[in-house]
């Protein structure tokens, strides 16, 4: 099985080829609606995670709600 190298919030990860964004993020155990996601600086909507295939070198970021000014 091939694996690809990506980063999740700056940390290197290896995931199986054909892995979707949804599959990667489900592993964190967080409710899907509790964070927002982006791949390579582009927003990926919650509904689009399941059909967003990860590719070699992708940089995935997730963001959560916090207090702010």
């Amino acid at each position: 099985m091939t694996t690809i190298n990506i980063t999740l919030n700056g940390e290197a990860r290896q995931v199986p080829g054909g892995c979707t964004l949804a599959e990667l993020l489900e592993a964190s155990g967080q409710p899907a609606a509790s964070f927002a996601s982006a791949v390579n600086g582009e927003f990926v909507a919650r509904d689009a995670r399941a059909h967003t295939l990860l590719a070699e070198g992708d940089a995935v970021f997730t963001f959560q709600a916090i207090t702010g000014g």
Binding site: E11, S28, T62, Q64, I66, T67, G68
Partner: protein, 286 residues
């Protein structure tokens, strides 16, 4: 003879009607982004000593709009501050997410899209910093991001400088609200350039203007409201007070006082004394 000043252009004549059409009796009611609000106080939610004090401060402020943010998660995911955030949701205030920390239009656009999904609102306080020392907004990136976000259906509240022409460009880009700084974020210096703020008010009479950032004391908020600004947004001045809840109330009263004074019509300053008691000549000629 009175020389017209920028403030005399901005002030409503006779105090009967505000520029936005509100009556003096309902001075705190105004409309922004097609939403009627009864408070001119927008409150930031960061840096409070505890979630309970934040909750009490929101209540004491009477604010109906509070700002929130987004934070990149650690690799492991998982949340901190969830207790803070749940309280903010429970307050019932409308959320105004910000794009704090962005340095480019592209970053700010992506963060805005995330905020829309996460908070369920198309309102965005657009922040794009252009200078690390002053955290001054970058007017060029701001206009680029604002134009794109407006096209994408956002209601953009740009955190901008008090420069008139860049404010006009933001309006050209489709912004319906402007939020010029009073002073650098968190500095508490008050309104460091009242002339520029007066000029904005005079030149953009129909545009909702909110002073955002730099407010230190309620007196600064009074000054902003007396200049005819529609609202004030602040965070640190309340959150960093020894008693944030009492300070929230102090600002609420200041903002109300300043707005009432603006609508009532502040008297023109005179160079010399003008007797206030009507007399006929001298009381006694001795």
């Amino acid at each position: 003879m009175t020389t017209p000043t920028l403030s005399s252009f901005a002030a409503p004549q006779g105090g009967r009607q505000s520029p936005s059409g509100g009556r003096a009796g309902t001075a705190m009611t105004f409309s922004i982004a097609d939403t009627e609000l009864n408070s001119r106080f927008f409150l930031g939610t960061a840096s409070y000593p505890s979630p309970q004090i934040l909750q009490q401060a929101i209540t004491a402020s009477g604010a109906q709009v509070v700002t929130v943010g987004l934070k990149r998660q650690l690799a492991a995911g998982g949340g901190t501050q969830n207790d803070f955030f749940q309280l903010i949701r429970d307050s019932g205030a409308r959320l105004l997410p910000n794009t704090a920390g962005c340095r480019s239009a592209r970053e700010a656009i992506t963060l805005s899209q995330m905020a829309r999904e996460l908070f369920g609102t198309n309102w965005i306080k657009l922040e794009v910093v252009g200078d690390e020392h002053t955290l001054q907004p970058d007017p060029f990136e701001l206009v680029t991001a604002a134009a794109e976000l407006v096209r994408d259906g956002f209601e953009v509240f740009p955190y901008c400088t008090d420069d008139l022409v860049s404010c006009q460009r933001l309006l050209d880009a489709g912004c319906r609200i402007l939020m010029p700084w009073g002073a650098p974020i968190g500095s508490g210096q008050g309104l460091i350039n009242p002339y520029a703020l007066r000029t904005l008010r005079a030149r953009l009479p129909g545009v909702p203007l909110i002073v955002d950032a730099g407010i230190g004391s309620p007196a600064d908020a009074v000054q902003a409201m007396e200049l005819g600004y529609d609202a004030v947004l602040l965070n640190s001045a309340v959150a960093h007070a020894r008693d944030p809840v009492q300070m929230a109330r102090a600002f609420k009263l200041g903002i109300e006082s300043g707005r009432l004074a603006y609508e009532a019509g502040i008297m023109a300053q005179q160079d010399m004394a003008v007797a206030s008691t009507p007399v006929t000549g001298r009381p006694f000629i001795l």
